[in-house]
Amino acid sequence: MFRHKKKGSAKKRKVSLLISVGLLLTVVFLSSVLLNSAEFRYLYYVVQTGKANDDGKRIVDYVRDELYSYEALPWLMTYWKEHSNSMDIPIGGLKDPNWKKSHDDFMDAFVKNISIDEVQAFSEDEQKEFAEVCYMRCASFFDRVKQDFDVNNINCSMYNGDGTSFAFFKSVDESSAKGRYSLGESWPFDIKLHSVASKIYDTGEDQGNLEFVTSTTDDQKYAFVYSTIKVEGQVVGVICETIPISDLLEQISFGVDVLRKANLQFFIIVFIILLSLVYFMLIRPLVQIQKGVRGYKSDKDSGAIGKRLKRLAKKQNEIGILAEDVTEMAVEMDRYVEEIKSVTAEKERIGAELDMAASIQSGSLPHRFPAFPERNEFDIYAIMDPAKEVGGDFYDFFLTDDDHLALVVADVSGKGIPAALFMMVSKTVIRSLANTQKSPKDILYAANSILCQNNEEFMFVTLWLGILEISTGELVFADAGHEKPALYHDKKWQLLEKKSMGMALGMADPQELLELDEKYQYTDTIIKLDPGDMIMQYTDGVTEASDSDNNQFGEEGLLSALSVITDTTPEKLLLHVQEEIDDFVKKSPQFDDITMLALLYK
């Protein structure tokens, strides 16, 4: 019922509960942090790319507006495109002394306001110089934008339609080979990779989205932002800013890192709070209850456990209910133990009484052998082996006078105390009747009358009564529904057939009995025993002894057991039969009392 646990192991289990909760929380928290990071990474990506788009758009639009501020831009774009080879432009950019010179020398305040008409009125040399100055101004503007906004690449170009682009202006990262492309320089441009750019060329409309393309030169991913320069609705140049994705990702990673740290800190605090809650609200009260239970286990004092758990039991939660239940269970258990104790005591008393009854019963049968040491005319032996503590079988033998020996074997209906009581009555009745009457059948009639009186429980007894005249060997016997006796005569065993059935004693009222058929009446049978002859009588416990397959020992079994031993003593004979029966039934429980009596006439 109770499993005994050492103190150490219980302690271990208590700690392991805390560890399990801790591990569970850790798993939940960690997965939550990871999930949060992933979500945040995505959100941040969306925000950052949006921002990059807005920023980029502002820059390219700013550049476009600057270009548009040249009144003669359409003429310039055409001139630049057509004279890209003949224009006299220093390569070195702003730092080039020639560049500065020509820039300074010209009255640039007027440059933007010169109209196309005015330009067309210029001489060819003037036109060339105008175009050169404007180009250098714009190129330096691109360089400035690149520096001021710290962009990776800002350009104005036109797709050639052959997989290359024509550069008007292109200021690139100074870490790359050159800071700027020269006018008309072309570079590979796969329009198929640039979905947004291709839309711009197709529709002539500005597109708002970022375009992500992996560069064919350095394998890096870039985001592209575009703006367009149009002349009379025609796209004549596309302004583009490129942003390395790695820059974007760096920003995102930084943001995610910050969030992750914040998340972790938050979770560590929650973790500590939750574990403390678990400990103080669950584990500590449980340990208290456990201690209470253990205490009860050792001292069986329900009062002590009640006192110990009193404070816990007041709590209005599951722990409180548990504490209350445990206390109640202890009280219940005490009551139950008391009950068991009294029931056990009662059982013990009944058991003791049964033992006493059994010993009285077996004591009431003649059980000292040799029973008549002073008589050498006969030898007698008997066995009674009850199936329960007390049985309904009995045997009896006694001298009614010097020359007459009465033999009784009987079987009372049923078993246990009722059968034993009826057996005692029957035995006494037969004994007293046999002392006054000589004929077995008369004794049976008289016994039947007595046993039928006040037979409230409808008990009856089958009985065989024989009276041996010792001097002559004449055996007279009568039978009240009992088994056939076995006789050893002329060196062989046989069962003696009945003259009449004979009614079991107590079965039918004397009046009723007399009216019945002849075969139910009691009759005396007389046989003559020769010296060396044996008579053996028994109860149905012998013939009906069964093995596990319900096969019965039977009369045949009995006869063959008897026939093995001849010329022996009654004691040896009966012990042998008993052994044979034991061998036959093997491990099957004994259902019925087994009683045997044997007499050797000498």
Binding site: G392, G414, E457, G502, M503, L516, D540
Partner: protein
């Protein structure tokens, strides 16, 4: 193992005993007999499937027969097998039972 079933036929209650009416089964049989006694004066015991009857079982039958007689009723026994009949004859209870 004893299996007891009852059924009604005309005014009589028929009790079917099946299996072994040993000392333990006798208690149950006795209980059934007492129940049936409160319902009818006319009882038929059908012993077609009764394999064995111990003395305690005979006692229960004897008690049933006595109680019915007291009430002025009747007990009939039918279909007893040779083995059971042998036990009835042996103890003499056959003499006080009516067979059909």
């Amino acid at each position: 193992m004893l299996n007891i079933t009852t059924s009604s036929e005309d005014n009589a209650v028929i009790i079917f005993l099946e299996g072994r009416l040993d000392v333990n089964a006798a208690v149950e049989a006795d209980r059934t007999f007492t129940e049936v006694l409160s319902q009818t004066d006319s009882v038929v015991l059908d012993l077609q499937k009764l394999e064995y009857v111990a003395s305690a079982g005979l006692r229960a039958i004897k008690k049933l027969r006595f109680n019915l007689k007291e009430k002025g009723g009747s007990l009939l026994v039918r279909n007893a097998t040779a083995e059971v009949m042998n036990i009835f004859e042996m103890t003499g209870i056959a003499a006080i039972l009516k067979f059909v």
